[in-house]
Amino acid sequence: METLLILLSLFALLLAGVPVAFALGGLGVLLLAFAGFSDLMAPAGFLSAMDNFVLVAVPLFLLMANVMLKGGVGRDLFAAVQAFVGHWPGGLAVATIISCGVFAAISGSSVATAATIGTVAIPEMTKRGYPRAFTFGVLAAGGTLGILIPPSLIMIIYGVITEESVLALFMAGVGPGLLMIGLFVVFSIFYARRVPSLEAVPRASWGERGRTGLRALPTVALAAVVITGIYQGWYTPTEAAAIGFAGALFVTGVVLRTLTWRDLYDATVESMRTTVVILLIVAGAKVFGKAIALYRIPQDVSSFISANIETAGLFILVVALVLLLMGLFMEALSMLLIMVPVLAGSLVVLGIDPIWFGVFFVIMVECALITPPVGLNLYVIQAVSGGTLLEISRGVLPFLALMLLTVLLISLFPQIALYLPFHV
């Protein structure tokens, strides 16, 4: 009963338009005060949430991605990938998906990925006769790879709140990420064969491939250095983010010479905004999490679940449905920060691997990014392309089905996610 009341008040505050950070933090503060706990717990909670070296990776990965974005690497990347696969059936769609996958290895955010590649790919695809809805769908869905393929801001935050290894989470995202790219690519090729209006792109010459490839090479090399270094233990994810940021400055400022001082300033301010907004929500969620733990809500939920849900499979199915529903009207980070603390207790009871659950959660959150009426990637594509929300949502549907298929596949074969972190 108490649990229901608290969740209802939270949703009331959220729907009234209170910023998420303060809806979570504020409700946490009120709950602590009503229960008569020390008033010092709230400020102490906000501070201790931020006093965390792992979270320092958040601003640094944002700086890296924003510098690359302002430096215009999206165009180079797309041109290079297109030179190699553009002549395939559905080649531009394939190039778009692969470019999203590569940019996802630089950026930890889906929105940045969709925006960067979308600006370049949408005009190209429409010019070659790709149906608008399909084009928008490719971009909105391809963008979501940003948080599945490492680095990933959502995984960093999941790792911090569940105290799991960010490294293991990153590595667990690689397999499902490649699987999803594969599914998207295969679907696009089949789709393109059935649309006669598509204009084929002539096969690029090897000279063209070499020229564009050379220009995209520093970008790919930077992504490789950052991810390999984390994997090999040369540096922590946080330090990797710093290296990535320094590398991004080097690539765009010295090698490609596309970054102006103005761009750098804009990238820094943009990263600050996103950092402050995200991390304040994380801090608010910490206070909320502390409060509900003292009200024993996670324990109540997990005993309710263990009394009513016998198998892990059923649990995952129920959670997936709840997340799909929540995703209709909430954004990803809030879903993560509200649901994970509530559900974490049940994982142990049901014997679900928390790293696997993190990957599952990320894919479900990706679905939330592209389901209307509230889906950030839909808005981004709308802003970039001028399409209507209805058109974009229609185009997204087949990709949504493929993402849910990915969830099914990793549920049947958990090794897709867990092989890399635990067996290599």
């Binding site: 950070a21 503060v29 931020m50 959502i154 040369w234 290296i243 301010v269 600050m272 954004e331």
Partner: protein
């Protein structure tokens, strides 16, 4: 007064941006120093946490007036304008009250550490209040700014334009 506060908090947000930039520089230096010169620093890790704490708490207030903080607008934006204004004012003053409470209770924590000269007990061993003071300062500014923006929504009827919210996803 309101305009002066707005400019001040916006300037602080810019300072936050530079603090985060500095974190990137410090940690790059740390990795280079450790790998190539076998000379890790004792300050990079702790100072980067300190900088980030200040950047997040002090950078927040400046983002209120542009509605940069993520919120759910799907219901509110469908309501008639006067009702919308009511909810915006409610949201801002809710923020103001909570932030004031946090700032008020955060102050004695920092002041207490200052009085007894408590330090972090880490390698660098900086005074604890360097970190703890970020909470009362940051949330105090948030409370002030949210209160003032709320007043403006109510009196001047200039509804803050829903800004382009920054996002994690």
């Amino acid at each position: 007064m309101a305009r002066w506060l707005g400019r001040f908090t916006a300037a602080l947000s810019t300072v936050s941006a530079f603090l985060l930039f500095a974190v990137g520089a410090m940690l790059t230096y740390e990795v280079v120093a450790r790998y190539f010169f076998n000379a890790p620093t004792i300050w990079a890790e702790e100072l980067s946490r300190l900088f980030m704490i200040w950047a997040v708490f002090v950078g927040s207030a400046g983002l209120l007036s542009g509605w940069h903080h993520i919120r759910v607008t799907v219901v509110v934006e469908r309501l008639p304008l006067p009702v919308q204004r009511f909810f915006e004012c409610f949201a801002l003053w809710f923020v103001a009250v909570i932030a004031a409470f946090v700032a008020w209770n955060g102050f004695p924590i920092a002041a207490g550490s200052f009085d007894v000269g408590r330090t972090t007990g880490s390698m660098l061993d900086i005074p604890s209040w360097w970190m703890q003071a970020a909470v009362p300062v940051g949330f105090g500014l948030i409370a002030l700014q949210a209160f003032v923006v709320g007043l403006r929504v109510l009196w001047d009827h200039d509804r803050p334009v829903p800004g382009s919210a920054a996002h994690a996803d």
